[in-house]
Amino acid sequence: MKRLLCAALLLGLGACAPQYRATGDLGLVVERADGRLKLVESTHSTALASIPGLGDLSHASIVYSRDERFAFVFGRDGGLTKVDMLRAEIAGRVVQSGNSIGGAISQDGSLVAVANYTPGGVKVFDTDTMELVADIPAIGADGKASKVVGLEDAPGNIFAFSLYDAGEIWLLDMKDRTKPGLRKFPHIGKQPYDALVTEDGRYYMAGLFGEDGIALLDLWNPDQGVRRILDHYGRGQEALPVYKMPHLEGWAASGNLAFLPAIGRHEVLVVDMNTWREVGRVPVAGQPVFAMLQPGGRRLWVNFALPDNGKVQVVDVPSLKVIKTIEPGLAVLHMEFTPRGERVWMSARDSDQVSVWDTQSLEKVAEMPATKPSGIFFTARAHRMGL
């Protein structure tokens, strides 16, 4: 802690013996029950500091400034907290709504947007000053306030998001921050619950809870409107109860293949991104929550909802077969790859532990205690669109 502080001060002041530190291998682990973050580094897999005072962090997510110096933490209680990764302390905090679900940082890094449940809408803040820049209530075509989900950044300082209750996709154009532009796509399907932007920033996809299918918007050709893909992937079978909503973030493509958690099924869907058709399914051990490709796309890592949330399965992409089932601990909530994918970190909430795995040997190489850990976020996210 001290050392870190010194290094930080040094950047400007030169108060301690020279000892510089960069942020490229840093990250934050959310300790959700205690409103606390653990600052970690992934070169030696160690914890560096603890940062308390972030409020209700259930379902918290984090984005990073383009210089990887600051984290913006979206808490459940509507808190938006800016964290200094070098000083390991809070650099700013606003409680901007009653209840929020996540957010995104703009392409140029100057704006951070937060998606809110109550009152439903999106608020945009300046990343330097944390001042409010835009406040967009989410009133659907039905005239009712809607919860906002799946807020993602898109090229051109655009934020894309979905209205859960109204079933709409909106594009918020913040090129000119004094004149926010809004474009609405109604009737995209029932209950969009989460969304993603593809790595290249071209497509926005919203998963639908109320129907089998995905709403797809081509951000290069928004005039073509929203298309439905993977329609009726459940083929009329009775879906299993869904004890945890799947997450679409973590999407990546391997060649032309992309992978999506199937809702209410013990399957991962394999999609050909040229045709947007399903080309296969991988049977897995439970209902997938995250289906994440490791950087490079060779393997897919999948974790599960209750009652299978103690398992993680590794799928070999060329053969589409599960090659290993591991049990990292109780209630595995999240996985995060190191920037080039040689390791993956996993949080096991009910084991109060974070473990680090080698993605080649599939063996555990390190672990550390953490109190009820949930999300793990490395600074390399700063340079990926849609994260």
Binding site: S58, Y117, P241
Partner: protein
């Protein structure tokens, strides 16, 4: 399906017959804040799921809440929990939601 059977049998017993023991109560408590919390918020103030605040819960009768927990609400993300919770478990949760047990 096999796994369901014992639970169903359990559910058929009178509620007092199988009050969750201390260890189970701890599990249920953690489940309420963590797993239910993933939709209802860890402090139950709501999220994708409706708020489960004391006031909201006390405004409803026990049987309705019990039914919602065990059978879910079709057409919404609220799943039926009867595969993971016995009726006695669910009754204990209802009392917990209403602030009637410690």
């Amino acid at each position: 399906m096999k796994r369901l059977l014992p639970l169903l049998l359990l559910a058929a017993l009178p509620a007092w017959a199988k009050e969750p023991d201390a260890a189970r109560q701890l599990q249920l408590d953690s489940m309420l804040s963590q797993d239910c919390g993933s939709c209802h918020g860890m402090t139950r103030k709501g999220g994708l799921g409706s708020p489960l605040t004391l006031d909201a819960m006390r405004a409803q009768d026990d049987e309705t809440l019990l039914y919602t927990i065990l059978e879910g609400r079709p057409g919404t993300p609220m799943p039926p929990w009867k595969m993971l919770l016995s009726e006695a478990d669910a009754r204990w949760l209802v009392r917990r939601l209403k602030g009637e047990n410690p």
